[in-house]
């Protein structure tokens, strides 16, 4: 890449629509698995809170999955989901999301003060009803923190999917590397970071809307 400047602005100017499409594709590949992961992790977490013995084995399974290198999992999945399909990338990312969100769900439910649990029981909530109507809503701030971690790591992991043909912005890294042309690489890094930042901000905003009662800055609202 000798003599090649880090950024050639004309290339970016020429490829705006292309970059936008890659970014959107990246967002879908990275974030839909987080949503699906949430839909799996919450019922699973509630079940673990109801039957605590399930939690150890389940979290062990998801931790092992989380420890697998993403590229290896993508490659293993190709025979089943096909090369360059979204599913090849999204299935592992969903597993990673569950691996992050299951412990946060369970921790969040456990963090609900014992007094709240007891008051709910004493007022006539059954165990499931109490979990869904009291403990789950009370642990929304935890869930959102979990979602922030899961979403940002999913956005970064999704780029690896480019190696099996479907990686959204990750494609820019391969392209730039193969052509010894750094501009797409820089553009990719900036866009991945921007995507992560925007997602994170949206989640913080969502937390304010969903759990206004959890905004307890020191000295606020008395």
């Amino acid at each position: 890449m000798d003599g090649e400047p880090l950024v050639r602005w004309y290339w970016i100017g020429d490829h705006l629509a292309y970059l936008r499409d890659l970014a959107l594709d990246h967002a879908v590949i990275a974030l839909v698995p987080v949503l699906i992961g949430l839909l799996i992790a919450v019922p699973l977490g509630l079940t673990c809170a109801r039957f605590p013995r399930l939690y150890q084995p389940l979290s062990a399974v998801f931790n092992v999955v989380y420890a697998l290198p993403s590229l290896a999992v993508f490659v293993v999945l190709i025979p089943y989901t096909g090369l360059a399909t979204r599913a090849t990338v999204m299935v592992p990312l969903t597993c990673y999301a569950v691996a992050v969100l299951l412990p946060t769900t369970v921790d969040g439910l456990r963090a609900v003060p014992e007094s709240v649990r007891q008051a709910a029981t004493a007022m006539g909530y059954g165990p499931w009803h109490r979990l869904t109507a009291v403990e789950l809503p009370a642990s929304v701030p935890y869930l959102v923190s979990g979602l922030r971690v899961a979403a940002v790591s999913s956005i970064s992991l999704a780029a690896v999917g480019a190696l099996v043909g479907r990686g959204g912005l990750g494609y820019l890294f391969i392209d730039g590397f193969q052509r010894s042309f750094p501009t797409p690489i820089v553009a990719g890094i900036v866009l991945v970071a921007a995507l992560a930042l925007v997602t994170d901000l949206l989640l913080v905003l969502a937390r304010r809307l969903l759990a206004p009662w959890a905004v307890r800055e020191k000295g606020a609202a008395r």
């Binding site: 003060p113 007094s115 709240v116 008051a119 004493a122 007022m123 006539g124 059954g126 929304v140 008395r222």
Partner: protein, 351 residues
Amino acid sequence: MIRFDGAAKRHPDGTVAVAGLDLEVPAGRITVLVGPSGCGKTTILRMVNRMVEPTSGRVLLDDTDVTRLPAAKLRRGIGYVIQQAGLFPHRRVIDNIATVPYLLGWERKKARARAAELLELVGLAPETAKRYPFQLSGGQQQRVGVARALAADPPVLLMDEPFSAVDPVVRAGLQEELLRLQGELNKTVLFVTHDIEEAVRLGDQVVVLREHGLIAQLADPHTLLTAPADESVAAFLGRDRGLRGLGLRSAAGVAVRPLTDTSQYGSWDLTREAEGRPANWLAPDGSTHPAPAFHPGTDTLRTALDAAVLSVAGLAVAVGPDGRAVGTADRAAVLAALADDRDRPVSTHGR
């Protein structure tokens, strides 16, 4: 009425929480369970709403064995207040209070109207309704906890050290409020505390417990303070119990001399404000001193004695319901009332 009929709780590991309790909790009255930590008082309380199931014996609520009722249904008919309030952090005050009505399937509008009523009943401002629990002080949270327990108008109220986590001034206010509420509502209240002062202040009957939920003494507060069953109860009651017992007796028996009778003033003179409230004692040298006062109709002998002791003139000022000074009583007059009144305990609960 709640009746414990040999109710016992043994844990699976063999330890005994409650060895076997026979106790009647009369309807419409406040019964206080008091004892050191680990004496099983909370376990006893929780047997009533089946948060603890007795391993032998029975707990009867209006002659029905509580274990025959579905737990959720039973609990929706029993108010429960705990130390940390246990308010739902994600619900506004109004919806916290309306919890049981919602569970009972009331319409949202009706439930909230009832909750607003209760908010007022426990002395909270209407604008509190829209707040979240974290925006309230400890005392306010506890009031909301009481309102929530009363929302569906249950005949029975279980209170587990509800005022222990707030500071003494707030606690005194909450205790007074509970007595005022009880005067209006006449619930069957079972109240657990480790604070003997609180027990004596609130209870119509006080049950002093020792370990394993054994009853050391069951008595009305006055009897408890004047005639503890044994050394251990006396020790638990602590020092000054005779003096504290005066706090349960009315000051109505104190002979008050009218203001016009200045013979007992000596060289002192009482100055009054424009509305007739006592202001100061004026000494011969022109210096002024506070004039402690008591209200014979509503205050206790303890307050009257305190006023007489504190007054440098040796005279407690008696005031009428409007706060106007009506007369004075010297220390001898207060002491005479003590002797005179010994066998006539007077509840200060206004009931």
